[in-house]
């Protein structure tokens, strides 16, 4: 009864000088203090909802350090699974060592934030490319902006456990799209790292899954982990240097041909930048489009880069290998679209290019 009625009754009893009741007083006060602390703290703390989890997940991309065992499965076409060990130190470094399938076993990808080296022991080659982590850093800011501007619908749909760690389950999709590809994330509720990702098609089928089976968080990883010295006899292939993504107007000043733009874009997509990359004696202009989840690139270059017979759709829809490349010609320009866009949408884009 005393506890139910609260501090008024307790206080009175204390005033009456009853020793027995006096003993209870400090405990009751402590309980009340704790209760108040929880109520006030709860009111001040940020509520855990979808947007909060997504925000924290994006922030953790640049800071979390861990070693993990990851399993990736492609379910579209013939199912294919790979296993790899991942070393990650925020935007400072990432190393992926493939364990299986046999075709990939032994391949290593090392990214130190400046360049990425992909070692393919089967071909005795190490391909050096611009850092993806560097691009990821930029794109994380872009994703955060897209999210802030309401381009994404984020929903917290539950809780689960992945790699023995509690997670929040999050569904992210482009805003306002009824039938869209969605992504489901299982986000560590303490470290905010995505422990599992599922790619879900517009019809609800799972297209790919990747998850960590074991993860060990660390304060930092040694930088040597993100250096790679190719073994002797390995050929080093250097790709094009990093290109800067910039507004289209700036790119127009860098090239001598008139850049074409599609006037039609699939629902939710918008241009998020452009770049010009050197190719042989000329340049290829790349326009980047994204709806926050999916992205496609439109390449254009003048002259006969492509063989006469090649100027047509190269791959229809999602092929088992996941290629989606379409090419066509407009005036003197070769146009090539790469990305997971359905054929009927590609046709509309191609027709609208001006």
């Amino acid at each position: 009864m005393t506890h139910r009625l609260g501090f008024v009754l307790v206080g009175r009893r204390a005033e009456c000088g009853q020793d027995k009741k006096m003993i209870r007083r400090p405990w009751t006060s402590f309980t009340l203090f704790l209760l108040l602390f929880v109520i006030i703290g709860g009111a001040l703390a940020e509520p855990i909802d979808g947007p909060t989890v997504l925000r924290r997940m994006l922030a953790a991309e640049g800071t979390a350090a861990f070693i993990a065992h990851q399993v990736t499965t492609l379910t579209r076409g013939p199912a294919l699974t790979s296993e790899q060990t991942v070393y990650r130190d925020g935007f400072r470094g990432m190393r992926t060592e493939y364990i299986s399938p046999p075709q990939l076993a032994g391949e290593i990808m090392v990214d130190n934030g400046k360049e990425m080296i992909h070692f393919v022991p089967g071909h005795k080659v190490a391909r050096v490319r611009p850092s993806r982590l560097f691009a990821l850093k930029q794109r994380t800011q872009e994703a955060a902006r897209a999210f802030l501007h309401g381009a994404l619908d984020v929903e917290l749909v539950g809780k689960d456990k992945i790699a023995d760690r509690p997670t929040f389950v999050l569904v992210v999709k482009p805003r306002g799209k009824e039938k869209a590809q969605t992504r489901k994330f299982w986000v560590d509720s303490e470290k905010w790292i995505k422990l599992k990702t599922e790619d879900i098609g517009p019809d609800g089928t799972v297209l790919s899954t990747s998850y960590y089976t074991k993860i060990e968080f660390l304060d930092k990883l040694p930088q040597e982990k993100f250096q790679f010295e190719p073994p002797p006899g390995v050929k080093i292939e250097r790709g094009p240097a990093r290109t800067q993504v910039m507004p289209l107007e700036k790119v127009r000043q860098l090239v001598k041909f008139r850049i074409l733009e599609p006037t039609y874009l699939p629902n939710g997509f918008k241009c998020i930048g452009a770049t010009a990359i050197p190719f042989r004696q000329g340049k290829i202009v790349v326009l980047r489009y994204s709806d926050g989840i999916l992205s496609f690139s439109l390449f254009q270059t003048p002259g006969r880069v492509l063989d006469r017979g090649f100027l047509q759709r190269l791959r229809e829809g999602p092929s088992p290998s996941g290629k989606n490349i379409y090419s066509w010609r407009r005036g003197d320009l070769n146009l090539t679209l790469v990305g997971p866009i359905p054929l009927h949408e590609v046709q509309k884009i191609a027709e609208s290019v001006r």
């Binding site: 990851q70 990736t72 492609l74 294919l80 790979s82 790899q84 991942v86 992926t96 075709q103 990939l104 391949e107 990808m109 490319r129 611009p130 993806r132 691009a135 990821l136 930029q138 794109r139 994703a143 994404l152 992504r183 990702t197 599922e198 790619d199 790919s208 899954t209 990747s210 790709g239 094009p240 990359i277 190719f279 290829i284 790349v286 980047r288 994204s290 926050g292 989840i293 992205s295 496609f296 690139s297 390449f299 270059t301 880069v305 492509l306 063989d307 006469r308 017979g309 090649f310 047509q312 190269l314 092929s319 088992p320 290998s321 996941g322 290629k323 490349i325 090539t336 790469v338 990305g339």
Partner: protein
Amino acid sequence: MDCKDIKEHMIDYLGGTIAGELRCAVEEHLRVCEKCRLLAKDLERTASLVRMLDPVPVPAGFEKRLSQRIVAHQSASSLWHSISSAIIAIGQSLLVKPVGRRILRPAIAMLLLCALIGGSLFLLLSSNNRVDATDRAFIEVCREQHMSFAAANPLADESALLLKERMSQMSDNL
């Protein structure tokens, strides 16, 4: 005996299955011809390497399956032989008959025309799907550029994208 003759007898010579005059003739030629001598040396080396290999056991039922396939192949060949013989016979009878002679020329002309149209269509269609080295380099640049862009999305599943990409590269190389 010239190099051509020697090549015909080389395997028998190395296997020790020829003797007498023929063997002497081969030996004489090998003495004077460096090219054939090198060939003999190569063949001998290859044979010795093959002899070093452990014998591989033949799976159960292999011989039976092999003989069945040989019989099937022979019967298919004999069927083709019968068909071709029939065509030749018809052709010969047409040549003999005056009516046959009259239709033979237009028929041949028709056949040639069909072959011409068919061949052109085949070439056109195959060239539409052709990816030569120039195209390949360009497409590779496009694909790689897009991949870097798509994988750098923090909301993307980078590992799935990389797996797709590697698999597609491998299928292209096959």
